[in-house]
């Protein structure tokens, strides 16, 4: 029961600590002795005006890097141990059922965002999926809709904003939640609000359900992502993640546009 409250407190505390600690400083600090330019200089190797894919707009980089560091510790010492416990206790088959049920509840996000983008066919498919999986699939524990040819039409409000030409803004590394950007963070907030005030949480209108859902969702979410911080073994992991995230979201937005209004 304490999961949600505890997690919220932890996130709030973490954000505060990060802001206080990092001070958003990204400038290198001088060590002992005079600073000398290096032998291989950026200015000599990069023609002015050329864009490098590692160059992603990152206005609060100091904060983001602090957040990235926090996430490493959070993930290593709290989040993943909890998820590992879940994986040990719960059989794989049941884990998949949990994932499936959560996906089913999240169809509300897919539905609203497909509608926002006037993708009526996709919205229809999403609605069909939700009805089939909630009934035949027993509250979404199984996903017969996919076997019947109704593929999931994943959407979120970040993609909807992107669809209407909103730029991604600056990169953001969110505490606990991980890589994002200004647009997607706004989108995430909107989707969460929809889910809470007009979606499954509002329908159920039960604090027990809300608490259970929040906890299980958090565990399931991590359970499904194989990513581990520091897995690349590169000193530039932050840069690599940032570029990859940006390219992936850009790709998703372009894909959405390419498919038109189906």
């Amino acid at each position: 029961m304490k999961t949600r409250c505890g997690a919220t407190m932890l996130i709030a505390g973490a954000v505060l600590a990060l802001v206080l600690e990092s001070g958003c400083s990204t400038l290198p600090q001088a060590g002992p002795g005079p600073v000398e330019p290096p032998l291989r200089r950026y200015e000599d190797l990069v023609k002015p005006g050329t864009h490098n894919m590692l160059d992603v707009k990152d206005s609060v980089e100091g904060f983001n890097r602090g957040s990235y560091r926090f996430n490493y510790y959070f993930d290593e010492y709290l989040y993943r141990p909890v998820v590992r416990g879940y994986e040990i206790i719960v059989p794989n088959y049941l884990e998949d059922r949990v994932s499936s049920a959560i996906d089913n509840l999240n169809e509300i996000t897919n539905l609203t965002n497909n509608l926002f983008q006037f993708k009526f066919k996709a919205a229809g498919v999403t609605l069909g999926r939700f009805l089939i999986n909630s009934t035949v699939g027993v509250a979404g524990l199984w996903d017969p809709a996919t076997t019947w040819g109704l593929e999931r039409k994943t959407q979120d409000f970040g993609l909807t904003l992107g669809h209407y030409g909103t730029g991604d803004g600056s990169y953001l590394m969110l505490p606990v939640l991980g890589a994002s950007n200004v647009r997607d963070t706004g989108g995430f907030a909107a989707d969460t609000a929809t889910f809470v005030y007009a979606g499954p949480i509002a329908w159920a209108n039960s604090s027990t359900f809300t608490t259970a859902y929040t906890g299980v969702n958090a565990v399931d979410r991590r359970h499904r992502i194989p990513f581990r911080y520091r897995q690349t073994g590169s000193p530039f992991e932050y840069e690599l993640l940032r570029t990859l995230y940006t390219m992936k979201r850009d790709y998703d937005v372009q894909q959405g546009k390419g498919k038109g209004k189906d």
Binding site: A30, M53, F227
Partner: protein, 430 residues
């Protein structure tokens, strides 16, 4: 009909019998193209079967406990190693990872399991070119085999101290793949003088002959295969990314490391040029990681300004861009060689390069019966003449396979049984 079936069955048995009697199955490898062989994992049906889990102990060694690790490497807390242990007395294999690889990359885990399954204790060690090693265990600039071997030897000593109370060891053995095999040859030589382990056997899997030739060959794979040259790298990568997303939708955030990039990419029907470029890119990225780390650990001056203190919130993007534009050869010519020359003024570039070559150990390798070698004729890190040289040096202790690229066939059953034979010395009895 019955007669036809009987004849078929008879023929079937006749064909099968000699096969079943001969111990190693004939070598068949599905990828003839060396780039494909290098990148693609062996299909499951061709691969040796390995245990899902082995008894494992992970631990940390700190060769320089008083070392002040710069805050930019806040995640570095000593050098991790892992030991797969038998519950009875057995030989202990020290296993050295290839260029830029940690002790626990998928290839190392699989090798560890394969050798554990064959009855060895296996102690896996990170490559001296991986950033974890450079931060925690390098005594100076990484990249010169003889000095890297000293650093490796120190790590092995500490690792052995850590586990010696828990396992019963009959003999010490040494193995490595790719650059790790090259390192192993130099470690074995060092062990002849220091005699801490007195390695009974040393197994080299797909080593380069000349490090210089190999890194150049690898870098050319990248530079020569980007349409329009390196200035078009971003556009090329973007295309690859888009193409891959279409098929897999599974670019994980950790996906830009070498091994997982392969795994993502192998689901495509990729062009030979793209495969080659990807192999080259992995090698370039590994070098960049090492060069930047070495620079910071040695006080800067190459990519990072001297006397600048990098902390956990410092932006590294510009350094990353420069590092990825730096080849190992640039590092060698501009920093490593001048650095060594400072300590021994008479040292020529040629002489330092000669030390980066198995020829440097010619006499030792030829005279010592403890070495075994496994290699592939079509390995992309070799240059013409290398295979002939290796055959001449290792003679009947060399197993050269006709295809397999750079370690693509490592988990082929006949390659694994060669490994085990060469390590346990059974081939001598044949």
């Amino acid at each position: 009909m019955m007669r036809y079936m009987a004849i078929t069955l008879l023929l079937w048995f006749l064909c099968l019998t000699p096969l079943a009697a001969a111990a190693p199955p004939p070598y068949f490898y599905p990828f003839v193209n060396p780039y494909e062989a290098t990148v693609m994992e062996l299909p499951k049906e061709f691969e040796v079967s390995l245990p899902k889990k082995v008894p494992l102990r992970e631990f940390v060694v700190r060769p320089f406990p008083k070392r002040d690790i710069p805050e930019v490497f806040w995640y570095e807390k000593g050098l991790d190693c892992s030991l797969a242990y038998q519950d009875h007395k057995a030989p202990l294999v020290f296993l050295v990872a290839g260029s830029g690889s940690r002790y626990d990359v998928p290839r190392m885990q699989k090798l560890q399991k394969a050798l554990y399954q064959a009855g060895f204790h296996v102690l896996s060690i990170t490559s001296p070119t991986h950033m974890d090693f450079v931060v925690n265990a390098s005594s100076g600039l990484p990249g010169i085999a003889e000095d890297d071997a000293k650093d490796l030897y120190r790590v092995m000593d500490l690792a052995w101290q850590e586990v010696r109370g828990d396992i019963a060891v009959s003999d010490f053995l040494l193995a490595g793949y790719s650059l790790g095999a090259f390192d192993a040859a130099f470690v074995a030589k060092l062990d002849e003088e220091q005699r801490h382990f007195n390695f009974k056997r040393v197994l080299l899997l797909n080593p380069p002959v000349s490090l210089y030739d190999s890194v150049q060959a690898l870098d050319r794979l990248l530079v020569d295969n980007i349409p329009g040259g390196m200035d078009n790298f971003d556009a090329w990568f973007h295309d690859i990314f888009t193409e891959t997303m279409h098929i897999t939708e599974s670019w994980e955030p950790g996906g830009l490391s070498g091994e997982s990039m392969y795994r993502t990419y192998k689901r495509l029907q990729p062009s030979e040029a793209n495969l080659a470029a990807l192999i080259g890119l992995t090698s370039r990225m590994n070098a960049a990681d090492m060069i930047f780390t070495a620079d910071v650990m040695n006080g800067g001056g190459y990519i990072v300004p001297k006397n600048v203190r990098l902390i956990s919130t410092t932006s590294l993007t510009r350094y990353a861009i420069v590092a990825y534009k730096t080849r190992f050869i640039d590092y060698f010519d501009q920093w490593l060689y001048p650095h060594y020359q400072k300590h021994s003024p008479g040292l020529t570039r040629q002489a330092l390069l000669a030390r980066q070559d198995l020829h440097y150990l010619d006499q030792y390798l030829k005279g010592s019966k403890k070495f075994g070698l496994i290699h592939n004729e079509d390995d992309v890190i070799l240059v013409p003449g290398n295979i002939g040289y290796l055959k001449e040096i290792f003679g009947d202790r060399a197993r050269i396979y006709p295809s397999g690229g750079h370690m693509g066939n490592m988990f082929h059953p006949s390659v694994v049984s060669s490994m085990v034979e060469l390590l346990s010395g059974k081939e001598v009895a044949q």
